[in-house]
């Protein structure tokens, strides 16, 4: 009987990691529904991005106070997870503070550091909750977040506070322990007898670790998945100048063969679909972008269209892409393969009006702390609109025909191109 709690714990641990791994593999499969592109060149530059952008959070430091608060939660998350190792060993082996005898004087130093971090994380979460709910920072109360996204954001912060609270309570209720922050809680527990304290310590211990397992399995459903995907997303970030658009080789060849038919292969395959109408037409990096998005809205705050009241919101582009990809993923789970549901990312999630408002200024790309390019998706959808659906505003059709006939987007005589040289 004495091993029963160890066995239960081991079982729960295995189940928690199993479900998490399964869900992550499903996300991986969804990401690979995207078109293949090669992003493995220049490993050095890519690792540099992982260190600077993901690990170093370089983009976050465009706003220093917020960056520092975020850094606390981030460092807290990583460092306190070291303590998880001990918690898991204790749970499985039935030990109490497994590392304490081995580490000697270092042990209290470590736990004290974890406690300080836990406390700081708690405070940082209060700041972040108030930015969302009291100060109501514009990008955090936008319509993009109505409903689940808003709840998700608050829930993450509350869960983190609860987890930190449980960690501190657990230490406070441990009569053998006396650590820097949890000792503040000790006086409020002074009326309790040893048995009661033990129960509190045990409950806090269980709730803390189960909370963490729960939180881990919540990630795949949450915007908080960025804590995992920010790293690969930084590695695979574009290393090209931001102004460079992805070349469509199929069309390049079409034009080449039209101009120089002698170069055309006799067995030329019919060109694929042009641009992207649905998530499968985007690249896997676009899809990984969608899962990496933490819906912070820095993109939309910097977007010239969004900030002047247009419908376009780069953040919504990313959220829509993830939503649609989830629907497609569930469709595949249910049917073994994707069965056309008569819907698509374009039109059913992202409207033409949104796409039309983009000035391709790259502000969204520049701002994103986790190396997402909403603009890439916007231009791929625009390509589909124009080349598959011939859907363009009349002014653009005029511009196209001017370019075609007059070699300039305006209707001027091509012969006047050098007329300026003759003016005084």
């Amino acid at each position: 009987m004495e091993f029963i709690s160890n066995i239960i714990f081991l079982l729960l641990t295995v189940i928690a990691f199993y479900i998490f791994a399964k869900k992550i593999l499903r996300i991986k499969r969804n990401i690979h529904l995207g078109k293949s592109i090669e992003l493995n060149d220049q490993p050095l530059a890519r690792w540099k991005n992982v260190f600077m952008l993901a690990l170093g959070q370089k983009k976050m430091f465009r706003n220093i106070p917020v960056a520092l608060l975020h850094l606390i939660i981030y460092v807290g998350f990583i460092i306190i997870n070291i303590e998880l190792l001990e918690i898991i060993i204790d749970g499985i082996a039935g030990t109490h503070r497994f590392f304490a005898p081995f580490l000697g004087g270092l042990y209290p130093f470590l736990i004290n550091s974890f406690e300080i971090l836990a406390f700081l994380v708690f405070i940082a979460c209060i700041f972040f909750l108030s930015r969302r709910n009291i100060l109501r920072v514009k990008r955090l109360i936008s319509n993009d977040l109505t409903g689940w996204p808003k709840t998700d954001a608050n829930l993450i912060l509350v869960i983190e506070m609860v987890l930190m609270g449980l960690f501190l309570t657990m230490n406070a209720a441990d009569p053998s322990a006396n650590f820097i922050i949890s000792s503040w809680i000790k006086p409020s527990l002074s009326n309790l007898n040893e048995h009661q304290l033990h129960t509190i310590e045990q409950s806090a211990w269980w709730m803390h670790i189960l909370g963490i397992y729960g939180f881990m399995n919540y990630l795949p459903y949450s915007k908080h998945l960025h804590i995992v995907l920010a790293f690969p997303n930084a590695y695979y970030a574009s290393l090209e100048p931001k102004g460079k658009m992805h070349n469509m080789v199929a069309i390049q060849n079409e034009v080449l063969y039209a101009m120089q038919p002698e170069l055309a292969p006799t067995n030329a395959a019919a060109p694929e679909k042009f641009g992207a109408k649905d998530v499968m037409d985007l690249s896997w990096k676009n899809l990984m972008d969608a899962y990496s998005c933490t819906e912070c809205g820095r993109c939309s705050a910097a977007c010239p269209a969004n900030s002047t009241g247009k419908l376009l919101s780069p953040r919504k582009i990313m959220m829509d892409t993830r939503d649609r990809l989830e629907i497609v993923g569930k469709n595949i789970d249910a049917n073994g393969q994707f069965i056309d549901d008569g819907k698509s990312l374009l039109n059913d999630h992202i409207t033409i009006e949104e796409l039309r408002a983009c000035t391709t200024c790259n502000a969204c790309v520049e701002e994103c702390p986790v190396s997402i390019s909403p603009m890439d998706i916007i231009v791929e959808l625009r390509r589909s609109l124009i080349m598959e659906d011939s859907n363009a505003p009349s002014e653009w059709n005029g511009m196209f025909s001017n370019i075609e006939n007059n070699f300039a987007p305006w209707k001027f005589a091509p012969d006047d191109r050098d007329a300026w040289t003759k003016q005084s």
């Binding site: 100048p241 102004g243 070349n247 390049q252 070699f407």
Partner: protein, 259 residues
Amino acid sequence: MKVSTMAEMMAAGTKPEVLFWVGCAGSFDQRAQKITKAFATILDKAGVVYAILGKEEACTGDPARRAGNEFMFQMMAYQNIQVMNAYEIKKIVTTCPHCFNTLKNEYPALGGNYDVIHHTQFLQELIETGKIKISDSNEWKGKTITYHDSCYLGRANDIYEAPRKVLESLDIELKEMRRCKSKGLCCGAGGAQMFKEEEKGDKRVNMERADEAIETKADFVASACPFCNTMMTDGIKNRDEEVKTEVLDIAEIIVKAIQ
């Protein structure tokens, strides 16, 4: 003014140091033509041997590509690259950041490999090498100027310093707008927006940017893109009859400041 075309140079058996890619705005837009002429004048004064493609130049395809019309872009690119490769063009300078970006970043994949620089970079080089000399008593001295970053120069190609260095050579006070450099706000023209009505919203993008420029109380707004120039000029004009802040291209500012 006398500007040689590549065809004329070829016929005469000579080659220019650099091809001046004028661009559609620079060629046809009345306002932008002034920028073109200012830059050509500077090139002449600096003794740079340059040529234009003249009637053989065509739209790079940038607005078509950004609108989503890849076919049209590829057609234009094919045509331009054929022409430039036939002339064995090595170096290109252009006054338009959109042409600059397309020629520099997008033509290489299509077989057009050139050393492409923007005119603000070229001006910086001319000043630093002493090929043009800023007059000590230039008319901008002591004035305040704010510089509007073009997206296709700034974020798209990380060129923030060259235009500022050129302006700083004038002994002026450079006043930055609230959002500048990598945070600079778009003028609203990019992504083929120049060629259509803006989508429905609360405010026009160029008005938003014009307000930021006016806020600096600078005497002049400097631009480095013919489209930004148009958008900023319209924005400032519409905002306030009283405010007559002029929007000038860096080439127009420099041409009046050199000896």
